[in-house]
């Protein structure tokens, strides 16, 4: 059990960490594509500088997304070999397609985009960034196809004790995927939008490059308004699906120990006592859960005790409860962060309606926005922790338990080694990443060409102080 615990921590840390970079990559790629399209359409060089400035930040972020993504591709084999053997026939396909369709696309075109400003025609250059945006979004689609199978297995049969694909169409038509992909993708767009809005606010407050950043801000805040509202709409649909496909996750996210009454209330705050399976403190909104689950004021939601009894009958003895505390609170934090984002985007959209100068004077709001960059990150991370931990003890819902998926020959010392190794490197990367972000944001678009356009001779002198050159 010790090894399972380590394997899970390693997977959790590396995946949540990887997903700090992914949403910003997806969101920024789209926003930069829009900016560069405006440059081509309006022939205004401000948009070119805009695309280049955000492109700089994009690349710092992209590099870490790429290198932490390599780990993702291989850790199933490293720490979860029994899982890989069990699901490979089904789960491997979307991963391979992700690599062939998305990774090649984004990596080839990020090269032509970064290095091709003066080598490609403006339209081909624009095409490159759109291909990057398409690539990263395709990547999200295929990896979520794989994840949706873990949440709600479709398109398979069990053959020789393993999952075997029997319908690729069913894998793609997975109802879980049809809500999960838009939810995650829109969340990523919201991340990009809040990042651009927050950094732009920083400049507007300091009255630097007001025109460029007021325009950036508008592009971001209108995109963010649409995407943050749609995230919530899709999230609602996701919850309604959950109640049928993963009722235990639903019950845990509501800390609902016993099946709710006919008119189910939604608890806004609960003190959870898992040992005694009750909530000593529970502040509830009447009808709330019924409305969330069924769009009616009525409808009972099954509770964990009843589901546990049902699963024991169905799957044999065992504990089928996830960590209620984690599932309940991560869900609430995600919803709170999402609601704040909708509010801030809506407010910002109104503030952005008038001219640049007027926008730059909305100082209280602008002062808040750089801090609001944290919100999408909080929502993304808590959302994933809720959905993955809420599915426990299953790795693949109803088919394979997480504890049965580990590599039988990889013992605790080895997992400790990689956990500490990757942990240390990731922590160092985080420091460097934040440092570079702050540095480049402080520098701003004016010195955009700064460190790269350095006078070669001066560098030589600096690196060889004794040289007589």
């Amino acid at each position: 059990m010790w090894v399972v615990w380590l394997d899970r921590w390693q997977f959790g840390i590396t995946t949540v960490y990887h997903f700090l970079f992914v949403p910003l990559t997806i969101g920024l790629a789209l926003l930069i594509s829009v900016m560069e399209t405006l440059y081509i359409a309006k022939k205004d060089s401000m948009y070119r500088r805009m695309a280049q400035f955000w492109g700089k930040l994009f690349l710092i972020n992209f590099a870490l997304g790429v290198v932490t993504g390599i780990m993702q591709e291989f850790q199933f084999g490293m720490n979860w070999s029994n899982y890989s053997r069990f699901v490979g026939d089904v789960f491997g396909a979307p991963l391979a397609i992700e690599s062939l369709a998305a990774f090649f696309l984004e990596s080839a075109f990020i090269g032509t985009w970064l290095f091709g400003w003066d080598k490609l025609s403006p339209k081909i250059h624009l095409f490159s960034i759109w291909m990057v945006a398409l690539g990263v979004s395709l990547s999200a689609f295929w990896i979520l196809t794989a994840n949706a199978f873990m949440q709600e297995p479709t398109g398979y049969t069990i053959k020789n004790g393993r999952a075997s694909m029997n319908s690729f169409g069913a894998l793609l038509m997975n109802p879980q995927l049809s809500v999960e992909f838009p939810h995650v993708w829109l969340g990523a767009i919201t991340t990009g939008a809040f990042f651009v809005a927050g950094v732009s606010a920083y400049y507007l407050l300091r009255r630097r490059e007001i025109k460029l950043f007021a325009h950036s801000f508008r592009i971001a805040v209108y995109t963010g308004l649409i995407s943050s509202v749609l995230v919530a709409v899709v999230g609602h649909a996701q919850g309604q699906l959950l109640i049928h496909t993963q009722p235990m996750k639903m019950a845990a996210s509501e800390a609902l120990w016993h099946t709710s009454p006919y008119h189910a209330p939604w608890s806004i705050f609960a003190w959870i006592d898992s040992a005694h399976q009750r909530n000593p403190i529970d502040i509830e909104i009447p009808y709330g859960l019924s409305i969330l689950s069924y769009n009616h004021t009525y409808g009972a939601v099954p509770g964990m005790v009843e589901l546990q009894a049902k699963y024991v009958r169905q799957y044999g003895p065992g504990n089928y409860l996830p960590s209620v505390w984690v599932t309940f609170w991560t869900f609430r934090v995600m919803v709170l962060a999402g609601s704040l984002m909708i509010f801030l985007a809506l407010y910002g959209a109104f503030r952005g309606l008038r001219d640049d100068e007027w926008l730059a004077k909305r100082r209280t709001y602008l002062r808040f926005m750089p801090w609001a960059i944290a919100l999408p990150y909080i929502a993304n991370s808590t959302g994933w922790i809720m959905t993955e931990m809420g599915r426990q003890p299953w790795a693949v819902m109803g088919l394979l338990k997480t504890s049965d998926g580990i590599s039988p020959t990889v013992g605790a010392p080895l997992v400790w080694m990689t956990l500490l190794g990757f942990g240390a490197v990731y922590a160092a990367f985080a420091v460097v990443d934040v440092y570079l972000f702050v540095k480049f944001i402080r520098k701003g678009p004016d010195s955009d060409q700064g460190p790269d356009e350095m006078d070669a001779k001066s560098t030589v002198l600096r690196l060889n102080p004794t040289s007589t050159q």
Binding site: V67, D89, G92, A96, L100, A108, T112, S164, T459
Partner: protein, 337 residues
């Protein structure tokens, strides 16, 4: 050809693409501290692979992902078995990728020295580890009846496998030096050429020793007999012609033939394996093959359609990127990395 064999071929192609393309990236990374004496020279060297290295690395990611899809047991056994080696490989690739992107972002000397070191180590370790891994695949490793690797990291290390690692690293350096003769102009091009000449000798010797050694360490001899067939002979002839082409300054041909050497050597290793994917040194019955390690027929059919549609498209646009950046980098020009 049945689907299992076809997928074995596709994975061979992906690994071959990886070694040929990322091979020169690794080589350039290893040679950068030696060829680049000034900061601008080092930047020129890194920028020579700047637009390409990321997409080249995807050949490896794709090979791994396709193994997962087509031969889940191969994927599971290989990466849980070669655990420590893969761990080091991943750290190296991470350090290297970040290093290329970050090293020129700040002009601080210590910063650049640090990332140059990371890029060097991150470029040197992967070919060594891959050489060791391929030698082990040829030789066989302890795999039990449940397809699990039951050895330790140290079981992967032997004179034969270390020689495999050294050979691979030398080949990458030769390939990288030849790539540089095509991508750079000026004095550094000459330097790359003379370096290629020197490394070419050592790479040929290492390759020759490795082939000889592999006859005693693997079942290559039983399998292909005295007449090794066209692939290894082609690899050997290509390698031997490289020094001649360098000295006559046929840089393009020299690069193509070092690519042929790498491609044919990789293909030979996989041909030697076929139809096995991992050889058990404990019992022949425990071998993983393209049949007992594979996904079902339906899954392979779907993936065949997908891969045969996507790979040609990938080849087209990746070739196009090389066309876009066909011009040599000259000192004094604009550098992005």
């Amino acid at each position: 050809m049945n689907l299992n064999s076809l997928w074995f071929v596709i994975i061979t192609i992906l690994f071959t693409g990886f070694f040929v393309l990322e091979g020169f990236d690794f080589g350039v990374g290893i040679l950068t501290p030696f060829l680049g004496k000034t900061d601008e020279e080092r930047r020129l060297l890194i920028n020579s692979i700047g637009p390409f290295w990321d997409a080249n690395e995807v050949w490896f990611i794709s090979a791994g992902a396709c193994m997962f899809a087509a031969f889940p047991d191969w994927y599971a056994t290989l990466f849980s078995g070669f655990y420590v080696a893969l761990f080091v490989l991943l750290l190296a690739l991470m350090a290297r990728g970040v290093a290329f992107e970050f090293r020129s972002k700040l002009s601080h000397t210590g910063w650049r020295i640090f990332w140059d070191f990371a890029a060097f180590v991150g470029s040197l370790l992967p070919p060594i580890l891959w050489g060791v891994a391929l030698a082990n695949l040829m030789k066989g490793v302890p795999i039990d009846a449940h397809m699990n690797y039951v050895g330790t990291f140290w079981d992967l290390i032997s004179p034969f496998t270390v020689l495999g690692g050294v050979t691979m690293a030398l080949m990458a350096m030769l390939h990288g030096a030849l790539f540089l003769t095509l991508r750079l102009g000026g004095a550094i091009r000459e330097k790359a050429r003379s370096t290629a000449k020197k490394i070419g000798v050592w790479a040929s010797i290492a390759m020759f020793l490795f082939v000889i050694y592999s006859y005693s360490q693997t079942d290559l001899f039983q399998k292909i007999g005295l007449d090794p067939g066209s692939l290894p002979v082609l690899a050997g002839m290509a390698l031997l012609s490289v020094p001649f082409l360098i000295s006559t300054k046929h840089d393009g041909w020299a690069f193509i033939l070092s690519a042929v050497t790498i491609a044919c050597s990789t293909a030979t290793v996989f041909y030697d394996l076929y139809p096995r994917v991992m050889i058990s040194s404990l019992n022949r019955a425990y071998n993983l093959t393209i049949y007992n390690a594979a996904s079902g027929h339906y899954s392979l059919t779907v993936m065949t359609i997908v891969a045969l549609t996507l790979l040609p498209i990938v080849l087209v646009y990746q070739t196009w990127t090389y066309w876009v950046f066909r011009r040599r980098l000259e000192p004094g020009g604009h550098l992005d990395y």
